[in-house]
Symmetry: C2
Subunit: 254 residues, 2 copies
DNA sequence: CGCCACTTTGAGTTTTATCAAAGATCGTGG
DNA sequence: CCACGATCTTTGATAAAACTCAAAGTGGCG
């Protein structure tokens, strides 16, 4: 995979505000927050499919917010394996760094992607200006944390079959949250290698799990399309509870 | 395990500031931050060993900061298994909640523990008063996130043997960061069941891995004490890199 | 049409889990 | 101080799950 040559587009504060408001996290943007956001040095970058956006070990000075497209965040290991951490989509932010400023994982595009890039110093200024913005970042990190916990639980405690079912349900929920049409039949541009790397399985074994799921009349994964055939049974087999996607620190007390 | 009956101690702002300053994250506390911290409605609670501090599904209105003792955070599954997410220790904070205010995982003590409890509304006020405090919370969440990524990678990509080695090295680093003496020989009050639940292994298999590690002259885990016999070889076998513990969002640019 | 990447299948092996039960260890009460 | 129970550790034998290697099938694209 080659290094991503991006294409830069005009700065779009308005689009950023729209994106944040459509996010699954609770965002209450008042005047102070809006004006702080307007002062952000945000750029929109477009990347083709299958390029590396941020490489493991690379210097990082920005966070990125996904506007469109599918990507993946992973860690490469010396033993040749890799763990896919997440498939970020619209409204997800990516770009963490070690204390000395380097990325600990790789972020790559799968389809063409469009990302907002926000330099860290600019974000820091905006938060000082409108402290409420920090709650958004906290909510986002917190949501990512709970999704990671669910991912870890999935890999650590569930059989390959159940694990696969669980991931497909999670993807369905996330695609739906991004506003794409029918959650029971959605576009999913992942290869079986990528699914396997996310689930800690070999592609061969994942393939057999997909076949079982198909033969059981539960889900079909074919030509980059997921079709959920029996969602109720699938949810019950996978012990799936989408609640973890809506986690937060300072949530509303109903 | 019974519900934790805690014992409440006099409010200790000073101790809280000390704790934050000794934290592995970068904390620069100026006058504004100190006075905001002083206004926090923080209490210190003490729990005996082996009690549940926050139960899965329980209402949460506070975050907790560990002052002393060993605990564990885990998720229980319907299939009877559980995934241990973390063994929080001094300076770590615990207590996340779903958007509607309930805990998604259980937090239990292993040894007697002492925790600072900070009500969320109070924390929110303090952050508004001193926005810089939000960076501390962000750094802490970010650090937890990277530790989770490493944990997921460990369970997803590494063999039982290597995985076990990696966890013991991580614990060694964390214990050292808490200021406890010799990192090559430290107290570790975990049972093999708990280690197994953290690693996604059965206790029987974990036991065999520990035996192998011992027979190879790498580590000994005996009577709740870890002795690292050959750290260099262990690090190389486990592909261990402690860098993930020092991750942050707004780190210093060296 | 042919190449390339991805998917699918088969056969055999390794890793890990399961079941069963015997040692340790530690705290507690007699 | 010893005996007892409870919990934790260790071992053995067997079974199941997942991996490896090898190779054939599929589909899209230049």
């Amino acid at each position: 995979m080659q290094r991503g040559n991006r294409h830069n587009v005009a700065p779009p504060t308005e689009a950023l505000v729209g994106l944040l408001e459509s996010s699954p996290i609770l965002a209450e943007l008042g005047t102070a927050e809006l004006s702080a956001l307007a002062s952000l040095a945000v750029t929109e970058n477009q990347y083709p499919a299958d390029v590396i956006i941020i490489d493991q070990g690379e210097r990082i000075r920005s966070v990125h917010l996904v506007l469109s497209g599918w990507g993946c965040v992973y860690r490469d290991l010396a033993n040749g394996k890799r763990q896919i951490i997440d498939f970020p989509m619209r409204c997800d932010f990516v770009g963490l760094r070690t204390a000395d400023g380097y990325s600990y994982n790789t972020i790559a595009s799968i389809t063409p992607m469009s990302l907002f890039e926000i330099p860290l110093p600019s974000l820091e200024r905006a938060i000082r200006q409108a402290p409420k913005l920090s709650f958004m970042l906290i909510e986002m990190l917190s949501r990512q944390r709970s999704m990671l916990i669910e991912h870890l639980t999935n890999v650590g405690c569930r059989s390959a079959f159940v694990r696969t079912a669980h991931l497909l349900l999670e993807l369905s929920d996330r695609v739906r949250a991004c506003g794409s049409g029918d959650p029971d039949s959605f576009y999913c541009p992942l290869t079986q290698y990528q699914l396997a790397d996310a689930l800690g399985l070999t592609p061969i074994h994942l393939n057999r799990m997909l076949r079982e799921l198909r033969e059981e009349g539960l889900v079909m994964f074919k030509s980059y399309k997921v079709e959920i055939l029996d969602r109720d049974r699938l949810i019950s087999i996978a012990e799936y509870d989408g609640e973890f996607m809506r986690m937060s620190v300072f949530g509303k007390d109903e």
